[in-house]
């Protein structure tokens, strides 16, 4: 057991599974000697050699496409896109092939690949290093989309993702990479991919979030409790397929739901959750479901980033408003 950051937990899970399963191969740009631009793959080349830790040429469609071929041929590739903004050249391969090979071959061929990528803003990077477009992946049948928001969940969910027999997009909130440390036990235990994680139990309002916004959401829950409002905090974690049951059960209890995400509001995953809550728990709702999200803008460069990101005060205000509603 050791205290570690989220990115270190990613590294630990990779090392664990590479040791446990010879078919796991790590590939991507700068994942070898350099250990990844965030050091997620640090040390793996030394431990597992260049056959299994592969620096690729600079081509994302290629990274996606060869990973698909490798996976269909019996390996378990864990491929890195350097930033989510550079995943898009691989989008065609992911949507038209990774997500479909099992279906296309009626199960005779499968595609157990993990596509990892740092995502989200708030680290003062240049353009395209701040994307959170998880929605454009979560819409695609055949994919899983998994987002850890703590070192422990990074470890357990990444193990589960690698072991999953289907393609998983694993989005790592770069803003949390080195945020809070946690004790992580390197026991190879996976966490389930079919459930949300309830981070805090409460009775007055359900705060539904994932990724880096877990940070602001937990901070808001603290502030709210000082105001006498008891917030339940749900980290969705696996946004595709969604464990809607946990969310509905919580909303049925609290009667209020606020969804918080960093991505642009329009077409964000929050819309889907809101729609499902409305469909399945309308009669339990004491106030309209609220969404606190990034703006429908292009994520600004570093200087304006702080205005783009939702903060805990916005969450508190939204909750306070709907507490008055009913």
């Amino acid at each position: 057991m050791a205290e570690m950051t989220l990115v270190e937990a990613v590294n630990l899970a990779l090392a664990y599974e590479m040791k446990a399963d010879k078919s796991v191969v790590v590939l991507g740009e700068d994942v070898g000697k350099n250990g990844g631009v965030f050091r997620a793959t640090q040390g793996l080349l030394d431990k597992f050699g260049p056959d299994r830790v592969r620096d690729t040429p600079l081509a994302e469609s290629m990274i996606a496409g060869i990973s698909i071929g490798m996976a269909a041929a019996g390996l378990k590739p864990v491929a890195e896109f350097q930033f989510m903004g550079f995943l898009y050249p691989g989008y065609d391969q992911i949507v038209n092939h990774a997500a479909r090979i099992r279906n296309r071959t009626r199960g005779h061929m499968t595609c157990p690949v993990v596509f990892r990528t740092p995502y989200g803003c708030g680290i003062r990077s240049p353009e395209h290093h701040s994307e959170s477009t998880e929605a454009v992946l979560a819409h695609i049948p055949g994919l899983r989309v998994v987002i850890p928001s703590s070192p422990k969940r990074a470890y357990g969910l990444l193990l589960a993702s690698i072991r999953d027999p289907d393609p998983v997009i694993f989005l790592e909130p770069s803003r949390l990479y080195r945020w809070a440390k946690q004790d992580v036990i390197d026991d190879g235990k996976a966490l389930p991919l079919d459930t949300c994680f309830t981070l805090r139990v409460g009775t007055d309002v359900t705060l539904v979030t994932w990724g880096a916004m877990v940070k602001e959401t937990l901070a808001a829950a603290d502030l709210l409790s000082q105001n006498g409002v008891s917030a339940e905090v749900i980290d969705v974690a696996t946004i595709k397929p969604l464990d809607i049951d946990t969310i509905i059960a919580s909303v049925e209890k609290t009667g209020r739901c606020v969804i918080i995400h960093e991505a642009a509001k329009t077409g964000g995953v929050g819309a889907d959750i809101s729609a499902l809550v409305a469909e399945r728990a309308l009669l339990s709702l004491r106030a309209p479901v609220q969404r606190i999200t990034g703006y429908d803008t292009i994520v600004p460069y570093a200087k304006m980033e702080k205005y783009y990101l939702p903060n805990e005060h916005q969450i508190v205000e939204a909750v306070t408003n709907i507490m008055e509603f009913a």
Binding site: P57, G69, A71, Q93, R104, M109, D194, P241, D245
Partner: protein
């Protein structure tokens, strides 16, 4: 100014269009039984092709891409591969697949609009058809990476059309194959058209073979109407892949003696008479002429071959037409290994509604 690199692109042909030998034949081509096998396969494929078009016209299958005139390419490539090699097809290479265990009835099922025609369950070393042009060479490179990592001594072959060579994916696949020294052969079936766009409007490269130079390995042109050349150069390239981990690009040149698919009307863009001019080069007649010259083929043999092949195709068509429809829930059954809970309700709904619509 100094010259720092030099390259050449060779062209291979053994039989010219009159059926005359123009270069030293490879060993297998000295065995007439082997040649007759290739001949039979080309004939069988052409009969299948004619039949498939007829089935489309009568609504028994959907859109279908003909292989007429390209039998030399697909039969030759298929014959040049070993059973344990892995094949990553595009959508026109039935002539390869059927040599590797896929049934003609599967091909009909596929173009009939049934996913079960794409699982090639009985023919393990083949990937499914890939419709997005140019996307499958990357899968081939990935498979080759897996083989290399596992130190398996097989090779991978993938086919792309001339149009497909313009896709970035095609280049990215070649590039990684070159730098990682992958056991993979990239075949370009240059039938001189990408739907309505002729080869000359696809690229300024004088040959498609030279595209391999960008990836640091050898490319060559092969006469695709000479099935002997196709089989031989495929064998050589596959051997090089298996033994030296050295990729090759084979540009195999034929002519599309058909519309792009049954949904196309080539008279809109193909100059009148062009197809007929190219017909003089088509692969079946050429090998027949040679076999006749060798004295191992005659009209009687031809007739019985035609009859036998037609019967085989009739049988496969009957198999296809008797296929039971898939279940409606098959829409959900292969999305994930286990259907996630949130979709169960949708699956139930589909079964309920689908049951109704069936009636």
């Amino acid at each position: 100014m100094e010259i720092v690199a030099k390259f050449e692109v060779p062209y291979y042909q053994y039989l010219n269009h009159e059926g005359n030998v123009v270069a030293d034949l490879p060993a297998f081509a000295k065995d007439t039984q082997e040649l007759i096998k290739l001949y039979r396969l080309m004939v069988l494929n052409r009969i299948f092709d004619t039949k498939a078009i007829a089935l489309q016209r009568t609504g028994k299958i959907g859109t279908y891409p003909s292989t007429r005139g390209q039998e030399g390419v697909f039969v030759g490539v298929g014959a040049g591969m070993a059973k344990d090699d892995i094949f990553v097809p595009y959508y026109r290479d039935v002539g390869i697949l059927v040599q590797r265990g896929v049934k003609f009835s599967d091909i009909l099922l596929y173009w009939g609009g049934d996913e079960r025609g794409n699982c090639f369950a009985s023919a393990k070393n083949n990937f499914p058809y890939s419709v997005p042009v140019g996307s499958q060479p990357l899968h081939a490179a990935g498979v080759a990476t897996a083989l290399k990592i596992r130190k398996e001594k097989h090779a991978v072959l993938t086919v792309t059309g001339d149009g497909g060579t313009s896709e970035g994916d095609f280049y990215e696949a070649m590039n990684v194959a070159g730098v990682w020294k992958l056991p993979v052969v990239f075949v370009v079936s240059n039938n001189q058209w990408a739907i309505s766009v002729p080869r000359s409007e696809q690229t300024a490269a004088q040959t498609l073979a030279q595209k391999a130079i960008a990836a640091g390995f050898a490319g060559e042109q092969v006469d695709g109407n000479d099935v002997i050349a196709v089989r031989d150069r495929t064998e050589v390239a596959m051997k090089k892949a298996r033994e030296q981990n050295e990729p090759t690009l084979l540009e195999i040149i034929s002519y599309r003696q058909s519309d792009h698919t049954t949904a196309d009307d080539a008279s809109r863009y193909e100059a009148k008479g062009t197809r007929e001019t190219h017909w003089a080069h088509e692969p079946i007649m050429r090998l027949k002429k040679y076999l006749e010259k060798l004295g191992v083929w005659d009209d009687k043999k031809e007739e019985s071959l035609q009859t036998e092949c037609a019967a085989e195709i009739e049988k496969t068509v009957a198999d296809y037409l008797q296929t039971e429809p898939a279940t409606v829930e098959s829409l959900f059954d292969y999305l994930y290994e286990k259907l996630p809970k949130i979709y169960e309700e949708q699956r139930d709904q589909l079964i309920q509604l689908g049951g109704q619509s069936h009636g």
